[in-house]
């Protein structure tokens, strides 16, 4: 709390970032220990969690006040105008402090209290149990100890980090382990080793390392031959260089028997970070033309990276399904690209992971427990900005692309993905805090924080996909098509808070409502039928059914509830309709036309909208 200097500022304006009419909402800004809250004159509340803030900027003072721009990790961008510069400065400084915490213990999860007792909390944490999951997959069995395998196939997905082979190092134990993995799959005599990094990067790296190698060889022979002068110094230098040279590597096919080596070309975290940055710059531009949008999309390369991840996962799935070969996946460290590829591959192969619960398990298994560095990648703490990267966001986007291509294959909908994305950054729950399992245990997260999953399950109606067909045999293994046409800009992610771009409520909700009503009505019909039957049985003569029906109607509790229910379920549809479809032209960019109308003088008006000339 010591960071908060001003808790409340009145007469603050909230601008829409895409509207050209400078339309704004006036309201009051509140600063709490965890949130920034804006309440406009219609009592509509906008909550911004401090942990979500990626960037706060104070722009140059204008006549109407001091502009404060806040960019969030969930892709919300808000533009406030604070009347007094002093207030703006105070809020700015407070937010700078509050949005970057130095210690884990200061994160929201450690103070968040959803009013659950300890046993409820513990049950929440036990909801997703990896030991259960491995049991489900059918391991450990005679071939597999606790590790990773896929139930339906003899082949397995394995993962590791890169071998520290340098340019020639070998490790016999490693070679034996790989051989063991390969042999555990009796169906195929070879296995794949997928290096998820792009070949050209490894090769250019390799080229530079080879030079070092030659130098080292030369130095060593020189040392050996040149009268062993300053032997100790020389050895020290040699070791250091050798170590550095051995920092990276990939398996040499000659050293391992029966492996097939494959590069799949996913770029590293730094490339991904700057790609997203470029993407956000493009789509945040006011008055963007179609042409700028597409050339921006191309330059950002974001969709190209998404396609690369997807292609890698497909390669993996095909190797397992078609060739029945086990696959060992690695990148450099084995927690970014490897997690992406393994989890997506599992998603393609196993329908279980496409259910709401299964998806949670998948995230626990392939991301959390295998040490994806959430805290560093999401920038939870004030740390090295070079460690931040949207690796997990990319995974969610790949899943979204799959849901678009296979509308019936997933139990969950887009809202579920957005909600998970919200919480990897929110630090409201303990699941994504820390960088690895060890760190999480040291932080005692299970004792001090809550798990996200039970909260999502409580709300699961919101996340159901009404089109889901769990039985469809055709959708057992997904074979997505990755032609370029299939990759689209995910508007509902990157513009989820920009109302003027119509991030409309998905059709899913409406269908879901219909579905619910259908079910309710069917139930009502059954109830009524059984009641009629009961009445019939009671009435010995069995006549007067017609009157009976009439008499049943007024006080039938089933009917009454069904009517109430109908109203309740219908209302949201109706309401949603009004808010979705009753859009306002003033929200859109063709609206500056209004100014042209009000101008009395004929003039050449060059609006940013294009050629808007009036020559009357």
């Amino acid at each position: 709390m010591e960071h908060i200097r001003t808790t409340k500022v009145e007469q603050v304006k909230l601008l829409d970032r895409f509207s050209t009419s400078n339309k704004s909402l006036t309201g009051t800004l509140y600063l709490t220990a965890t949130h920034l809250l804006f309440i406009d004159s219609h009592q509509k509340e906008t909550w911004i969690l401090h942990h979500h803030i990626a960037l706060v900027e104070k722009l140059a003072l204008t006549t109407s006040g001091c502009p404060l721009v806040i960019q969030c990790k969930n892709f919300r961008t808000v533009h406030f105008i604070v009347p007094r510069e002093r207030d703006c400065h105070d809020i700015y400084n407070s937010l700078l402090q509050l949005s970057k915490q130095a210690k884990y213990e200061d994160l929201y999860a450690f103070s968040y209290n959803p009013k659950q007792n300890d046993s409820e909390r513990l049950r929440g944490w036990q909801l997703v149990d990896l030991a259960e999951e491995y049991k489900r997959m059918g391991v450990p069995n005679s071939n597999w100890q606790l590790s990773d395998a896929n139930r339906d196939y003899k082949a397995a997905i394995c993962r590791c980090s890169q071998p520290l082979s340098g340019f020639s190092a070998r490790c016999l134990e490693d070679e034996h382990l790989l051989q063991a993995i390969s042999k555990a799959n009796p169906a195929n005599r070879y296995m794949y080793v997928m290096d998820t990094r792009p070949r050209h990067r490894m090769q250019s790296w390799w080229a530079t390392q080879k030079d070092i190698g030659r130098i080292i060889v030369r130095i060593s022979s020189k040392i050996w031959n040149d009268e062993k002068i300053r032997e100790s110094d020389g050895k020290k230098r040699l070791n250091a260089m050798a170590n550095r040279a051995a920092g990276k590597g990939y398996e040499n096919e000659d050293n391992y028997s029966n492996i097939r080596f494959q590069f799949v070309g996913i770029e590293n975290i730094h490339v991904m970070r700057s790609s997203l940055q470029k993407l956000l710059e493009v789509n945040g531009t006011k008055g963007l033309s179609v042409s700028d949008f597409y050339s921006g999309l191309e330059n950002a390369g974001w969709l190209r990276h998404i396609k690369a991840v997807m292609d890698a996962a497909i390669f993996l799935a095909k190797a397992i399904m078609v060739e029945n070969a086990s696959v060992l996946v690695h990148c450099s460290d084995g927690w970014d690209r490897t997690s992406q590829v393994c989890s997506l591959g599992s998603l393609l192969l196993d329908p279980y992971y496409r259910t709401i619960r299964g998806f949670m398990v998948l995230i626990e298994k392939d991301w959390i427990s295998f040490g994806h560095k959430y805290s560093e990648r999401c920038g939870h703490l004030d740390g090295d900005p070079k460690e931040v990267s949207p690796v997990f966001t990319q995974f969610l986007e790949c899943v979204w692309h799959l849901t678009e291509q296979f509308p019936q294959a997933f139990e969950f909908n887009e809202a579920f993905l957005l909600q998970i994305h919200e919480h990897i950054h929110s630090c409201q729950f303990g699941n994504f805090i820390g960088n690895c399992q060890k760190e999480r245990e040291e932080l005692k997260l299970k004792e001090k924080t809550y798990s996200l999953w039970p909260f999502l399950l409580d709300d699961q109606e919101k996340y159901f996909n009404p089109l889901y067909s769990s039985t469809s045999q055709k959708l057992a293994v997904l074979e997505p098509n990755t032609v370029s046409f299939n990759f689209k800009f995910w508007r509902n992610m990157y513009h989820q808070f920009d109302r003027t771009l119509h991030p409309r409520q998905s059709v899913f909700n409406i269908i879901m409502n219909m579905n619910e009503q259908n079910k309710q009505l069917q139930k009502d019909v059954k109830d009524l039928e059984s009641q009629i039957k009961q009445h019939k049985n009671k009435q010995t003569d069995g006549v007067l059914t017609k009157e009976l029906l009439n008499s049943v109607r007024p006080e039938s509790p089933a009917l009454k509830t069904s009517l109430c229910l109908k109203e309740q379920t219908l209302l949201p549809v109706n309401d949603a309709l009004r808010t979705i479809e009753g859009s306002n032209p003033a929200d859109n960019r063709y609206s500056e036309y209004a100014d042209e109308f009000s101008k009395a003088e004929p003039a050449v008006v060059s609006s940013e909208y294009g050629v808007a000339r009036m020559t009357c």
């Binding site: 895409f18 179609v290 294959a409 370029s484 990157y494 409406i510 069917q522």
Partner: protein
């Protein structure tokens, strides 16, 4: 003339290639007067009707050894490849197709021979004449009348016999105004926006020429429009050319309304591409869509380069501008470009869809097309359909028709067994007796068996105006059309079927909840 004279070889053995996933289909290829068909042999399923010959856009032939290949590019964007046995046969078939597909005469076209079971000739032809629309307007206002000044197409060959004009203007004045407008297309009512009492008019450019000629009756017509709307009402002329292009048009006898001559009217220029640049844009888009192997960067750069979505954006935002003028500014809007036959129709019809809930129903949409798109040039109608598709995507509940309807309209507009899209004007249509000798597309589409394909199961009448977002992030490539043949979206069709199931369950079991949801909101 007999078709048989044009058919050099009626039959040949051929193989149809059906993409990488399906095996090729062998059979006997037959050329008839109107169709190309492939009969897979006696034991197999019925003949596969390949296509109407009129829909063939271009034909390529190659021969090698004693076989040949014909590649047909169709107007519905399909590409068919046929391997044919025998060099002579290949060349003969290619020549027959060329000759038959390029027949100019309307009355030898297939609609004049098409007699399906279950449909009666003359049905649904009088379903949507302007008279019908006038009845609707007459209920709201007395300011407009139905004029039959164009009864014999003497004023304007491209207008229907009856048009809706201000009551205060007589037929003589209309005749004079017609002479002052290119092609005789004088300002007529396109849509009456009852909630605000404002109107949408369309016309062609005035023939002011380099001498800046004027026409008192034309000026009077537009003055009367404003006077009838409301005292002191204002009007806007949305010119679909740039200010410079409009000025240049004077050199060739065209021009724009002079400010002084039309008090109360202001001019806005919103340049929209049409004709050749639009056609090129479309061709380049199709080239990009035909290559599944291209890299992501190449695809995005081609999507950008073809500028098709820019045209969609411009068309939609100009329509929004016109609609906004009527709805929010209480102004009357006149739309024209040069001839007033392409971009003009695009803007007026889209503006109606945005404002008028009735035009978003199945019947209303058919009426709109019948009224506005009496004639069209190739890609501009497609651009219109694309814009409608974008509206439907942004407002998934507000259109009664679905993507299937738009696709059907696209197909039938190029080659159709029905007569609705034949000829370029009402006049020609009368000469060819289209209405009595062919079937109407609407009677075909309104058959019950077609409904599931064409309707939107989620439709709920929405009394409000639908204002689309025109930001590039909100516009999407219409994959269902442009990638229909290269990359069919199969799983989504299954999903669509499921939506239908859920929605129809709802309607049969529920006590018509859609009705209660449709009450107008204040």
């Amino acid at each position: 003339m007999e078709f048989s004279e044009l058919i050099r070889t009626g039959q040949a053995q051929a193989e149809l290639l059906r993409g990488p996933e399906m095996p090729p289909l062998r059979g006997t290829l037959c050329v008839t007067g109107h169709h190309l068909l492939l009969s897979p042999g006696p034991q197999a399923t019925p003949d596969l009707w390949l296509l109407l010959l009129r829909s063939v856009d271009s034909i390529e032939k190659r021969v090698a050894g004693d076989a040949g290949t014909i590649t047909l590019r169709c107007k519905d964007l399909r590409v068919l490849q046929l391997d044919i046995e025998g060099v002579e046969a290949t060349l003969d078939i290619a020549r027959s197709i060329e000759a038959l597909s390029s027949l100019e005469s309307v009355i030898t076209s297939f609609p004049f021979f098409y007699r399906p079971k279950g449909l009666r000739l003359g049905e649904a032809w009088h379903f949507h004449p302007p008279e019908r629309y006038y009845k609707r307007i007459a209920r709201e206002t007395r300011a407009w009348r139905l004029s039959e000044a164009n009864e014999d197409f003497s004023l304007c060959p491209s207008y229907p016999r009856a048009v809706i004009v201000p009551r205060a203007v007589d037929d003589d004045a209309l005749a004079r105004s017609a002479r002052f407008r290119q092609g005789g297309r004088f300002p007529v009512l396109s849509y009456y926006h009852a909630p605000r009492g404002t109107v949408l008019l369309r016309s062609s450019q005035p023939l002011t020429g380099p001498q800046k000629l004027r026409c008192a009756e034309d000026e009077e017509l537009l003055r009367a429009v404003l006077a009838e709307a409301r005292p002191g009402a204002r009007g806007f002329i949305v010119d679909t050319r740039s200010a410079q292009a409009a000025k240049q048009a004077r050199m060739t006898g065209g021009g724009t309304e002079a400010k002084a001559a039309y008090p109360g009217w202001k001019r806005l220029h919103r340049p929209l591409e049409r004709g050749r640049p639009l056609q090129e844009s479309f061709v380049r888009l199709m080239e990009a869509c035909g290559d599944p192997e291209q890299s992501m960067d190449r695809w995005l750069s081609r999507l950008d380069g073809c500028r098709w979505l820019s045209h969609v954006k411009e068309a939609l935002s100009t329509a929004c501008l016109a609609a906004q003028g009527m709805e929010w500014e209480g102004a009357c809007i006149l739309v024209h470009g040069a001839e007033g036959t392409d971009s003009t129709l695009l803007v007026t019809s889209l503006a109606q869809l945005i404002l008028d809930p009735l035009s978003r129903t199945m019947a209303g949409f058919q009426e709109l097309i019948e009224r506005e798109w009496i004639q069209h040039e190739a890609p501009i109608f497609l651009l219109f359909l694309d814009c409608v598709w974008q509206l439907g995507r942004q407002f998934p509940l507000s259109l009664e028709f679905g993507e299937g309807m738009l696709l059907a309209l696209f197909d039938h507009s190029y080659a159709s067994p029905f007569g609705t899209f034949l000829c370029n004007s009402e006049k020609e249509r009368c000469l060819c007796e289209v209405r009595t000798r062919t079937h109407s597309l609407w009677s075909g589409l309104n058959q019950p068996k077609e409904q599931r394909k064409l309707r939107n199961p989620l439709y709920v009448p929405n009394p409000l105006a639908i204002w689309p977002s025109v930001e590039p992030q909100s516009l999407r490539l219409w994959q269902g059309l442009f990638l229909r043949w290269t990359h069919p979206p199969e799983p989504s069709e299954v999903a669509w079927e499921k939506v239908w199931q859920i929605a129809t369950d709802q309607k049969t079991e529920g006590s018509q909840p859609t009705d209660s949801a449709s009450e107008p909101q204040p």
